[in-house]
Amino acid sequence: MRLAVTCLALLACIATASAETLVTSLSNHRVLINSNYTGTSIALFGAIERDAQTISRGTGYEAVVTVRGPKQYLVVREKERLGPVWLNLEQQKFPNAPAYLSVLTSRPISEITSDQLRQRQKIGLKAIINAPDFTNDRQGADEPFRQALLRLRRQDGLYIEDDRAVTFLTPAIFRASIPLPATAPPGNYDVEVTLLADTVILTRSFTHFELVKTGFEQRVGEAARDSAWIYGLATAALALLFGWIANVIFRRD
């Protein structure tokens, strides 16, 4: 019975979604980190196709691009005054926070979506951070920690909300530029594109890219992880060697 309901719901989804289809493409699915990497940006192209039965919409299309980086286990701590000193007392755990999160649109997100839609569909930084499953609920005590996480990550340039990053080239073709700061960690990045018209979600499209170390950086990372003893001994030997060389170079007598 449950299965049948799910099937029906799925069919209904497909039926409504089939009016418009969204085709997206990334400029790069494998971003390489080499020794002079200082961050980069990736271009995303999207085309909206409408089938013959669908009438053209009065208002134009809007696209929201959400990019989520590798998951991290974070602990946010709050300093409080205890007597004369400030100590970390309260803390809140975020077991599944993305290391990088950006929400890119062509207009301010409040103009193209309704409050309820944003909350329900987790669109926009605030909605994602405030989602009930983002951290454990503590009857409001978790609220300042969510806000602190958002504020600190925004300061570091790792959580981004940009309402000018999506450009419509024609009413049905758009381009978005996904900024990747140098501190965004290597790993898998999921890209979710949501197509809207008149504050209603028409369809969604998913793609992903990976940020990987190459060449020397990759080999160093692998050596440190897979042959830790050799790596540690080699670093120690190098340190001793450099100390000895310096002694020889600067010997005056």
Partner: protein, 309 residues
């Protein structure tokens, strides 16, 4: 010029890191200390993950201390016997420190333990040294007689405990028990705070054991090389947090700085040397005290426990 650090996973400016290595190396060479307590906060300030900062700067300490040890060796200013006793006691102390570190973390009070230890150690050691050197200056100015060290009957009673051993280079004939006990304490604090402990070792050898200034630096550096080598390898194996690119940059800057520091140190009068070290320690202690007392700009902080790629 920027370079990407493969383990810290972020780019840094090459010149900035070289400069930092040189500056800390200079101080390290000047005073015969490791300089870890200066380098670690600087690296964390640049945004390098704390685990990587603590682990990697130990490679620089190994390199700059090796240079100092070799220099001391040529000038015959190293007491291997005393150094060996300090190293042995230091290893046992380190093991105890690592155990206490884990216990404090389980109790959730590691941050507090670390900051309070920093404040206490640096202000106490710094004030004691400052008091001593101010008195020294004062006596000299009034034309008073400078107390000659090592007169008969002037030795502290703990030096007469059993197991008395002669340390020729240090002109020291003392019981081994207080020396090992002291090395144990330095190792314990070093492991707890992630520092070499040279800044406790140097004043203690000077004031408690009355080892000549020329021998103190070499011997302290010898102890630092041995302890830090072990902790560098353990950090690489246990935490995989040693960044070899960052280490090389710090080392290259550090060895040059240490050379000039050591040379400058040789031209310093002993009381000026002690006065400057006292000021440095007090400044660091006060900085940590301020961190504890002053209302912070940002009450919240994020700690990354794990990244799943």
């Amino acid at each position: 010029m920027q370079i990407y650090l493969p383990i810290a996973e972020m780019p840094v400016s090459v010149l900035l890191i070289l400069g930092m290595g040189a500056a800390v190396g200079f101080i390290s060479g000047l005073f015969g200390i490791g300089g870890g307590f200066l380098m670690t906060p600087l690296l964390i300030f640049l945004g390098i993950p704390p685990a990587v900062a603590v682990a990697t700067q130990s490679a620089q300490i190994v390199a700059s201390s090796t240079t100092s040890v070799l220099n001391a060796l040529r000038r015959n200013a190293l007491d291997f016997k005393l150094g060996g006793v300090l190293v042995a006691g230091g290893f046992v102390g380190s093991a105890l420190g690592v155990w206490f570190f884990a216990a404090a973390r389980r109790a959730g009070q590691l941050d507090l333990v670390i900051v309070v230890s920093y404040v206490t150690l640096f202000t106490v050691v710094g004030s004691l040294m400052l008091k001593e050197s101010v008195r020294e200056f004062w006596t000299k100015r009034r034309g008073g007689v400078i107390r000659v060290k090592r007169q008969a009957g002037e030795h502290a009673p703990y030096l007469f405990w059993p197991l008395r051993t002669r340390f020729h280079r240090s002109k020291l004939y003392a019981s081994i028990i207080p020396i090992v006990g002291f090395a144990l304490f330095v190792g314990f604090v070093g492991a707890l705070l992630g520092i070499g402990g040279g800044f406790i070792m140097v004043p203690a050898l000077l004031y408690i054991f009355r080892v000549p200034t020329s021998v103190v630096v070499g011997t302290s550096q010898f102890q630092i090389v041995c302890t830090t080598l072990v902790s560098l390898i353990l950090h690489a194996v246990a935490n995989q947090a040693v960044d070899i690119v960052l280490a090389m940059l710090l080392i290259v800057g550090g060895v040059f700085g240490a050379q000039f520091g050591a040379r400058a140190g040789r031209n310093l009068r002993a009381e000026v040397f002690r006065f400057l070290l006292a000021i440095l320690l007090l400044a660091v202690g006060l900085r940590f005290a301020l961190e504890l007392i002053v209302t912070p700009n940002e009450l919240f902080s994020i700690a990354t426990q794990e990244t799943r790629t």
